[in-house]
Amino acid sequence: MDNALAIEIGRGLAIAGAGLAVGLGCSGSGKGIGIASQAVGGVLSEKPDLFGRLLVLLALPGTQGFYGFITAILIFVRSGLITGQMIITPGTGLALFVLGFGVGLALFFSAQWQGEASAASIALVARRPEAFGRSVILPAMVETYAVVALLVAILAINWLTASNDVTAFIRAQ
């Protein structure tokens, strides 16, 4: 395979992976916050004084969008897109693509489920405002798995884009 073409394919796959991670993460967060905000709106129509507490529960499903953003930025930085020296092998590019897609899926679904869990906690706080502390734990449990996905993404991107891999590829050509 032509060297330039191989790098082009690798670059394309890596950018697509970053796009999927941020796209799916942000879509999931949008939906999760949408679900929770419906419940918050209803509660606030009856008890406006609960706004401060409910805002925390409302914001929880929003973190997945940021995790997707971090994953994408990390791919851009580590692959050299930002510095203008983007040399990615097709194999590494494919790995980054699959990684971005997998992380994106994890973020997408966890954000939606967290939205559902937040809505349940909002119902709990609406009836028993004193249970706010415990109610935050429920959607926070869902967050654990989004954090796990982000950690895997950070480690995998670092390993995949270690500079020796790239130089080895160039030397082989």
């Binding site: 679900i35 419906q38 419940a39 209803g42 606030l44 129509s45 559902e116 809505a119 119902a123």
Partner: protein, 330 residues
Amino acid sequence: MKALSKGQHRWGFVCGQISVLEGRLMSYDFFMTLGGIEKSEDVLHRLQETSLREFMVPGAETWEDWSTIIDSYVHSQIDELKKASPSPEITDVFLLNEDYVNLKRAINGKNALFPKNVFSESRLNEIASGNPALFPEIIRPSISAIANPAGAQSENPIITDIVLDGCYLRQYLWLISKLNCPLLKEWSECRVLSKLIVVLWRALKAGHNLKIYQQYLLPLEPFNHLISELCATTELRSWGNIIPGIIGDIWRECFEVSEDEQISKFEQKVSDFITQQVKQAKLQTMGPERVGAFCWGLNMEAFNLKLIVSGKLNGLPSNMLKDRIRQTYV
């Protein structure tokens, strides 16, 4: 246990409201306490500590005053939920009885008693002039049979009542079927079946010919065959072999109590059973089941309130009242 519908996020707003309103419902223990208070003034004083307070008016003393207060308390909450609901069917189910009172009055050339909901002013005016064209297809043929031109009194008020009962129950089931929720369907069928049994039971006790009921109540799917069988059986004891499921079990149980108590006990036990059933909806964060369950709970609260207030105003013994208090949603 019936499955609850899932992914009903558009019901989130109204269910958020319900999360708050549920906390204001009165508990069974509270009603038992009210039932045990001797003086009616003390009961009314205790009611000022509840959410009913906003609807109380100075000088309310008679049963009619309190009935109006409780009705407006229920109506205003259900009406508010209707405005916040993505589709109105489930709240309409609970406002339908008021609409049918208005409809009956319109057929007899009288003014509406309750706020208009399912049947608008124009529809009631149309029916008052003998034209049921604006009514839903599901009840229009039956309404046509009893609509009199220019508000003339109906020739046979019993038949008018039977036709309206049939239309009410038909529309009730029709509204629920539009929501496509197994729990609501099961609950509404229990309720309709129990209503039908009570109507026929009272008719039989009053010495009416049940063939008239078969003729004017039907069609009422899925109970057509059952009603025909009940109407053909004038021996009350045999009904126990005809009525199916849990309602049949309750009927047989209530048939064993003293004759004066049978129907009221049956109504109470069925309502307690439905309340237990709808409590399952508390597990749902968002969905029409939650709205329906809350409205049912509100209706049970209104029933208990009316029972206590009327009982205390009429000086009924506490034990008698406590025995009749129905299970509550919270």
